[in-house]
């Protein structure tokens, strides 16, 4: 693996990003523009809007995000282990088995705590 292997990836970034950028700029110049204060209003099914949407929302979404960070990290830990599994053999199986048990206990704990309930 050489740094130059990533040059084509940067090329893809440029091509895809360029397409998106050009599309946005082109539609900015091509489309009609008619400003009207009522049209520029927030859409709430045609009725005057009530309050602001910068308000509070269910804590559940926050909880899911926190759980995600923990579990995703644990999955990331497994990648190097999985790639080298054939050379690690039984030792690898035993160590990762312990890790998986801890992971499962954590999942069961939050399950019983009701962190996964959504109602």
């Amino acid at each position: 693996m050489m740094p130059q292997d990533f040059v084509p990836v940067l090329l893809t970034f440029a091509v895809v990003g360029g397409f998106a950028g050009i599309a946005l700029v082109a539609t900015h110049f091509l489309g009609p523009k008619a400003y009207s204060p009522i049209k520029q209003d927030t859409y709430e099914c045609g009725v005057d809007y009530i309050g602001d949407s910068r308000s509070r929302f269910s804590v559940k979404f926050y909880l899911v995000a926190v759980l995600f960070v923990m579990f995703d990290l644990e999955v990331v830990f497994m990648y190097p282990w999985a790639v080298n599994f054939r050379t690690l053999g039984t030792f690898g199986l035993a160590t990762m088995g312990i890790f998986l048990v801890i992971l499962t206990v954590g999942l069961l704990y939050e399950w019983k705590k009701g962190a996964l309930e959504w109602d």
């Binding site: 990836v9 895809v16 998106a20 599309a23 995600f68 990648y79 054939r86």
Partner: protein
């Protein structure tokens, strides 16, 4: 010609070729989806613009460009403009590592029908693929609309939940292949048809496929844009090309996700029982290229089929399926796969 210049020219041509092919396929997928929907619901679907309605794609494209660019007064302007671009780019960047075909020889030069054969390709796909959620949540929040905010929150929650299940399914696959390079994974699956990973990892495949459905936010996981609850979810306030980029991003995600499923579990570009010729020419390249797209399109078709067949989940059912079913099954699947591999190793059976 110095090697570095030849390398740059080769890679630029391959990149542009792949980009154009993907974009064309994605554009026609929007048309095919409506034709499939029409036939499933016993009606014609688009058939006015051009023969069989084929020019519908061009008509839609022109309309995206010619519509008024609309930004609500109360929106956060910068984020509102950046968000759809971000979603589209996160979906499109995945094409960089997908092996679209084998190596071919052109004028004594070895050309790989893949933009970049990274040795961390699987990690790259997961990392870039998960960036799409930023565009959606930014778009939902920046619109300053309650429906958009709800859609954005739902989308982010759903996507991050199923990302874990997807990661676990891939770990089980990596135990077997022992590499993160997608090209190497395809090479491992060459030969007889039962060398395809789907036969050795059926549970992992099911988890991955369900998670891929949820990641692309399509029926039955389309709660982020459930139109009878929250209008159009995170893209309620979007119009013209900014909406177009959101929609295009979704289709790119679907097509490249299907290509990834074909690559990881169904042998990618490899043709069962056929080995690469000694001197792989353009014909071999086209054959492998076509085989990958046939496999990919089968999964794209299943996406459409499911979309017009199944109803939508409720949000608690969606979360239960992700956290209480797929993740435990994924963990158990890893452990069983690892244990079986160790047993096979001791018995001296490879693979």
């Amino acid at each position: 010609m110095p090697e570095i210049v030849a390398f740059l020219i080769e890679k630029t041509l391959v990149t542009i070729f792949v980009f154009i092919v993907v974009l064309t396929v994605v554009a026609f997928t929007t048309w095919i989806e409506r034709i499939v929907a029409g036939h499933i619901q016993m009606r014609y679907g688009p058939n006015r613009a051009g023969p069989k309605g084929l020019f519908q794609v061009a008509a839609d494209g022109v309309k995206f460009f010619m519509k008024e660019e609309f930004i609500p007064d109360r929106a956060n302007k910068v984020l509102f403009v950046i968000a759809p671009t971000f979603t589209f780019m996160a979906a499109g960047f995945i094409m960089a590592v997908i092996p679209f075909g084998d190596r071919i020889m052109i004028g004594g030069r070895e050309v790989l029908l893949q933009i970049a054969d990274l040795n961390i390709a699987v990690l790259y796909v997961l990392a870039i693929g998960s960036l799409g959620v930023y565009g959606i949540i930014a778009g939902g929040w920046a619109s300053n609309n309650k429906y958009s905010l709800m859609g954005g929150l739902r989308a982010s929650s759903q996507m991050i939940s199923y990302e874990i299940a997807m990661g676990l399914a891939i770990v089980a696959l990596l135990l077997d292949h022992g590499t993160l390079s997608l090209r190497q994974i395809v090479l491992n699956q060459q030969g007889a048809i039962w060398h395809w990973s789907v036969f050795s990892h059926p549970i992992g495949f099911i988890i991955f496929y369900v998670a891929a459905f949820a990641e692309s936010a399509r029926v039955p996981f389309d709660l982020p844009e459930a139109e009878n609850e929250i209008v159009a979810g995170y893209h309620t306030e979007y119009s013209a090309m900014k909406f177009g980029l959101f929609m295009f991003g979704e289709y790119v995600h679907m097509v490249l996700g299907s290509a990834l499923i074909a690559t990881l579990y169904f042998g990618g570009w490899s043709i069962p029982w056929v080995t690469a010729p000694e001197e792989p020419g353009l014909l071999w390249g086209l054959a492998t290229f076509a085989v990958l797209w046939i496999k990919t399109y089968f999964f794209v078709f299943v996406y459409m089929w499911v979309r017009w067949t199944l109803p939508r989940f409720r949000y608690d059912q969606l979360m239960n399926l992700g956290w209480k079913r797929l993740i435990p099954i994924g963990v158990v699947n890893i452990f069983i796969t690892a244990a079986l591999l160790v047993v096979f190793q001791h018995l001296g059976i490879a693979g």
